[in-house]
Symmetry: C2
């Protein structure tokens, strides 16, 4: 980082950038911020901020951007627990297989949901959410460490473009964080 750059400046995105360029900037900034830093809470807290501000710079009505992690303290079932995020207060626990986040966690496949009301068994942390993308974070042994979850107030908020960059971010998270 240049000497005169504040950390907050990482969340300033150029208004003229395309969606691809903004999401690539998120990845580049995440990489720069995590150099020499493997604390997952710290890294995912800043990642949530990058994602939130990136989508808002693109005028995408994201109302939640953050993470759920596999809860290692729970032994009798597979459960996600709330991690760092930006947005309104969220559900603390989600069972694997339940809702969009739980489906991504158990199926280990990105869930691109254009209309949450059409998703079987959707869990509404926020009744105003209309669409959602959830990307599993899978370790080297293909175990689910957690998920990236981004919600939007509009239908069809996300596409395969978002999926591509968020899946790349998920891989980078595994490389940079000690869980």
């Amino acid at each position: 980082m240049e000497d005169d750059k504040h950390h907050a400046d990482y969340t300033t995105f150029s208004a003229s950038q395309s969606r691809e360029e903004v999401l690539q900037t998120v990845i580049d900034s995440y990489e720069a911020l995590t150099t020499g830093q493997d604390n997952w809470v710290c890294n995912l807290a800043n990642a949530s901020s990058l994602l939130w501000h990136a989508y808002h710079s693109l005028n995408v009505n994201v109302n939640w951007a953050g993470f759920y992690l596999t809860d290692k303290s729970v032994l009798d079932k597979q459960e996600l627990i709330l991690g760092p995020f930006q947005g309104k207060v969220a559900c603390q626990q989600i069972l694997f297989g339940r809702g969009v986040c739980g489906s991504a966690a158990s199926e280990k496949v990105t869930q691109l949901v254009h209309d949450v009301n059409k998703h079987p068994n959707h869990i509404a942390c926020d009744g105003e959410t209309k669409s959602e993308i959830v990307v599993p974070i899978l370790d080297e042994s293909n175990n689910t460490v957690g998920v990236i979850d981004i919600d939007c107030l509009d239908y069809e908020g996300f596409s395969e473009v978002d999926q591509k960059y968020l899946e790349e971010l998920a891989k980078l998270i595994i490389k940079t964080c000690k869980f």
Copy 2:
């Protein structure tokens, strides 16, 4: 929680509430959300969201609300590491004694800073921050577990009223979280 209440509704504050009432609601909501839940990441992520939305409901120009935690993995020095927050990307590490957060951590006393430019050794994560309140989170043995940090874009953003409620929140965090 009532059956028809979404988690996101915890961040809806009445526009007619006084500062005292809004901050008391933060404490009450934090207590409700942490019933049966002692995961500190989960609890402080939701606490950041409560604080952010509470101050915005009061039209206080808060640009950062969140937590730094004492980094137990660092043995040769006392250092804070970034925890859950809402706002722009932030500094990852702060040495005890450095800046407003580091002073609160080492002195174990709330730092109520009306003008950050007048604070000796202020660390600017965001050049736009004008005032700040940092409350130490102290465990039963009076060790610093972390700090609550809230920044404002205006001078004199916080007063003894905020200090009172945030110090109460800090005590509640110790009661409800396993660190």
